[in-house]
Amino acid sequence: MKLRIGAIADPGTSVVNLTGGWRTEIPRITPELCIRCFNCVIYCPESAVKYSDKEGIYFDYDYCKGCGICSNECSGHAIYMEMEEK
């Protein structure tokens, strides 16, 4: 690690820290119930809920801390939390 004056770091380098290990409950989605309100995408503190036209709503389990906000805010009751066994 090279030390620099004033502790400068390169942008977005925290992505090396995979926070998925913090999780005890894991979000799952029933795609048929999703009404594309995007509350989950808007309110995810980790930016771990993503959307693509092909896959619909999906989760980045590398970073999801399992807080459950996506499930709580889901208008279509499509997202539910499950106990994760590791």
Partner: protein
């Protein structure tokens, strides 16, 4: 989403502040210089040698975020580089209302073109929930613990919006992370405003407020719906765009969601404090005209 606040930051699961930063950067875009005082935001986003920021960001001291932001703005102006981006300072309630108050007042008074956003989680959460001048009446914090002789914090919150308005600012607003579109709209307006602007942002800390991490957004919405956190803008001294409520909820609906207020529901003294908090919500409703009269 532009994703300018990278994943992998160390905020607790369900952190209101992390949602706030994500939404603020979504609204401003990448042409922005951000300054933060010490606080959760600094700690979770920048453990050396990593950083979660994908925009230029600087932290100096606890008390001087507003001064550093002033310096950046003055520097950009002197070098003729103001078109490169806006200056934004984002600090917690401790770094803004307590420790950084003098620097903030100076920044307002000198008229720097900086947008200051205070995310208010109502205590020093980073160091372990010590009370700040923004801790609401009745809340149990580690330095105002509720017990046999105390019902928790005894002082009401400082009115930061009025303090900012008193400096003659052109744009001041209160916002809540529970209302994302409203928050992003206010951030855009504040950044586009020429001269200093200020946003007081209610942001839940699930660890310090003691509610389940999944309820963060719900709890913040309840603060607005009970009248304890009115949403409004002050443009050139005039209160405008007040979010009005068709049916204002009793404050108990908000208080009972959080562990920091749970002691109020157990004693007669607590009931009296709840009546006091309800009176504050009623006063807000009166002051900002929150209640919408629907003819029956």
């Amino acid at each position: 989403m532009k994703n300018l606040f990278a994943s992998g930051h160390r905020a607790c699961g369900g952190c209101g502040m992390a949602i706030a930063i994500k939404l603020i950067l979504e609204a401003t875009g990448e042409n922005v210089f951000v300054v933060s005082p010490t606080g959760c935001l600094e700690i979770v986003s920048s453990p050396y040698p990593e950083t979660s920021w994908r925009v230029p960001w600087i932290h100096s001291l606890f008390e001087n975020a507003a001064s550093v932001a002033s310096g950046i703005e003055a520097g950009l102006k002197a070098l003729g580089r103001k078109d490169e981006g806006k200056v934004l300072a984002i600090g917690g309630d401790g770094g803004t209302a307590d420790i950084g108050m003098g620097a903030l007042s100076g920044m307002f008074e000198r008229g720097h073109d900086v947008t200051y956003i205070c995310y208010d989680n109502e205590a020093y959460m980073n160091t372990g929930v010590q009370r700040s001048s923004m801790t609401p009446i009745g809340a149990s914090a580690t330095t105002t613990p509720a017990g046999k002789v105390s019902y928790g914090e005894i002082h009401p919150k400082k009115d930061l919006v009025s303090i900012a308005v008193a400096h003659g600012l052109g744009y001041v607003a209160s916002a809540s992370v529970g209302y994302a579109a409203d928050l992003m709209d206010k951030v855009k307006k504040a950044v586009d405003h020429d001269g200093p602007s200020f946003i007081h942002l209610h942001s839940s800390c699930c660890t310090g407020w003691r509610h389940p991490s999944s309820k963060t957004v719900e709890v913040m919405r309840l603060a607005v719906l009970t009248g304890l956190w009115p949403l409004y803008e002050v443009v050139d001294g005039e209160v405008v765009n007040v979010k009005r409520l068709a049916k204002r909820l009793p404050v108990e609906d908000y208080l009972k969601t959080q562990g920091r207020f749970s002691h109020l529901f157990k004693t007669d003294e607590g009931a009296e404090v709840i009546r006091q908090i309800q009176a504050m919500a009623d006063a807000n409703a009166e002051q900002y005209g929150l209640d919408l009269d629907i003819e029956e």
